[in-house]
């Protein structure tokens, strides 16, 4: 267990009571704003002192209200990547990168500067001033700066939220590399289902100051009762392997025996990918539909259904490829006689699987 958090804190009317353990890998704190994500990450960093609770990283107690332990932020050995890069304007990129190293003990300097510079592709920026960099470049330098401080845990607070779509796509792969290569656990705050789907090993979903759910990304995101960022953003994740590139520009994936077709992915055959299917791009059919333009049809069984005050219903279907979510109307559910346990077919429009929703896993 690399990170263990249990904190109670109240700000004005809001009470936060958040408890979770995060294993290695990238743990996403997921929820809408005000749910307590930033409270948690700042409590871990030591920038906020919770009223009561305990924070333990790799067995080291950083905060414990019972015995008054509260390690100062600069002694916590964490690498914090902020939403705005927060580079030091009076230092060059190189000096920014080396800043944390200056204070780190010899043993903590495990990452070599050259390797990090290489990984982030910032070699040409080293002698520049931060002010002249683009948003994406700044964030890459900030990632490098956090990494080079020799942290035991990396904290990232919505590191992509301030960037436009193109810059997001530029930075996302670096977090994947970080997750897969750096061997440092990452606590990643996000309100974007897309980011979480693509990056998270574990998802801790927060709602109204409490942990609403915790589990693997595919478990949490395919739960129909949990749509923290709205039903429009709800969607399930499937793991698949690229099996074939067709001549007509489509790529075929194999998701546990179920073929999925989507527009050409420029990745090699045999590579594992995560595919995100948003609930509103799925329609349900009682019988196997014929004469449809949609290419991807997955047979399955309804395992849960949630209805609210509105006309919609969120349905979770167990398919051979994994759980997927469908957002349909209550009226259709009634007229089709869909209930928990019903067999049905989930029709996924292949075009709806947008490229930015697909990531290497």
């Amino acid at each position: 267990m690399s990170l263990s958090v249990a904190i109670q804190h109240s700000v004005g009317e809001t009470n936060f009571s958040i408890k979770f353990d995060a294993p290695d890998g990238l743990t996403a704190l997921f929820g809408r704003s005000g749910a307590g994500k930033t409270t948690v990450i700042n409590a871990v960093a030591g920038l906020l002192r919770p009223q009561t609770g305990k924070v333990v990283v790799n067995g080291r107690v950083l905060f414990d209200s019972n015995n008054g332990t509260n390690v100062a932020p600069h002694k916590r050995r964490l690498g914090y990547i902020f939403q705005e890069a927060r580079l030091f304007p009076h230092l060059s990129v190189r000096q920014n990168l080396k800043y944390g190293r200056w204070f780190a003990s010899q043993s903590a300097r495990t990452e070599s500067i050259d390797r990090v510079v290489d990984m982030l592709g910032i070699g040409s920026l080293l002698d520049r001033a931060p002010n002249g960099l683009s948003g994406g470049e700044k964030q890459r330098v900030a990632i490098g700066r956090a990494l080079l401080a020799g942290p035991e845990l990396i904290l990232a607070d919505e590191p992509l939220a301030a960037l436009d779509a193109a810059r997001k796509a530029e930075i996302l792969p670096y977090f994947e590399t970080l997750r897969d290569e750096a061997r440092i656990p990452i606590l990643y705050v996000s309100h974007s289902a897309t980011e979480v789907a693509r990056l998270a090993t574990t998802v801790v979903a927060l709602e109204d100051g409490k942990v609403a759910q915790q589990g693997s990304a595919s478990e949490v995101l395919s739960d129909p009762s949990f749509t923290p960022t709205g039903v429009r953003a709800a969607g399930a994740i499937l793991e698949a392997i690229i099996s074939k590139h067709h001549a007509d520009g489509l790529t075929e994936l194999d998701a546990c025996g179920v073929p999925l077709l989507l527009p050409r992915l420029s990745k090699p055959i045999g590579m594992r990918v995560r595919v995100r299917i948003t609930a509103q791009d799925v329609i349900l059919s009682k019988d196997r539909p014929t004469g449809l333009s949609a290419l991807n049809i997955l047979p399955g069984r309804i395992i849960s259904m949630r209805t609210g005050d509105g006309p919609g219903a969120m349905v979770s279907i167990q398919t051979p490829a994994g759980k997927i979510l469908a957002r349909i109307t209550r009226r259709s559910a009634n007229s089709l006689g869909l209930n928990i346990g019903s067999e049905c077919h989930a029709v996924v429009k292949s075009v709806s699987v947008a490229p930015q929703d697909i990531g290497g896993a």
Binding site: A72, P73, H74, P89, H90, Y99, P130, A146, L155
Partner: protein, 230 residues
């Protein structure tokens, strides 16, 4: 410099010395006070703020008289210092003290504004990277407020060059010892035929003040460019 009489020349030299020492001595204290006013919340903060600004609002004569009461040979602080052989009243050191106190509010104000302009988020970032409070100040805050420190020092220096009321009350107007530029101008204007000497000193005053302003402007711009804030 034969266009200046010995008395005039000594007034100019004394003023420069007094102002330089006043600025140098006030700077560390001013930096400290500006920092705690900008970044720390403590009881009595407003009282401290008021005290710092007092010399700006009080009539200079009052400040000078209070200095005399406190730092005079029989004053509570002055008598102790006198025991140690330090006398401030009617000495150039006293003139430096008066000038420092009169320039202090201006200096603190400029530095405090520049500290408040430093984004605390940068200091937080430095802390998460392992810098203690001291190192955050030295490596992040201080470099970023250098222009403010410079402007504050030059304002303090300029104020010290022009200080008259508190100085003349506290240390009098002794040629060669406590007669600063403004005191000398005043003295020359009191005697018939002193207008020319007074005018020469006025010209020097104006030149020094202008030079200080231009210098601060140029340096501040240079620094701002270097630290990337402009």
């Amino acid at each position: 410099m034969d266009w200046l009489g010995p008395e005039e020349w000594s007034a100019v030299a004394l003023s420069l010395r007094v102002s330089l020492w006043a600025t140098l001595a006030a700077l560390p204290v001013g930096l400290f006070v500006a920092y705690i006013l900008a970044r720390c919340d403590f009881p009595g903060r407003q009282v401290l703020n008021g005290l710092v600004h007092l010399p700006l609002i009080l009539p200079p004569v009052v400040t000078g008289y209070l200095l005399l009461l406190t730092f005079g040979v029989r004053g509570p602080v002055g008598s102790v210092l006198h025991e140690f052989g330090i006398t401030l009243a009617f000495r150039w050191t006293g003139a430096a003290l008066a000038a420092a106190i009169m320039g202090f509010p201006l200096m603190v104000r400029a530095i405090r504004l520049s500290i408040e302009a430093v984004d605390p988020k940068l200091e937080q970032a430095a802390a998460t990277l392992g810098a203690s409070r001291f190192w955050v100040f030295v490596t992040v805050t201080l470099p970023l407020i250098l222009p403010g420190i410079l402007v504050g020092s030059i304002l303090g220096f300029a104020k010290a060059m022009g200080e008259f009321g508190a100085t003349i009350t506290f240390v009098s107007n002794i040629p060669g010892q406590t007669q600063t530029l403004p005191s000398a101008i005043y003295a020359f204007l009191q005697v018939p035929g002193g207008e020319n000497a007074a005018l020469r000193l006025v010209a020097i005053s104006v030149a020094v003040a202008l030079a200080a302003l231009v210098l601060s402007e140029v340096l501040a711009r240079k620094m701002a460019r270097r630290i990337g804030t402009s």
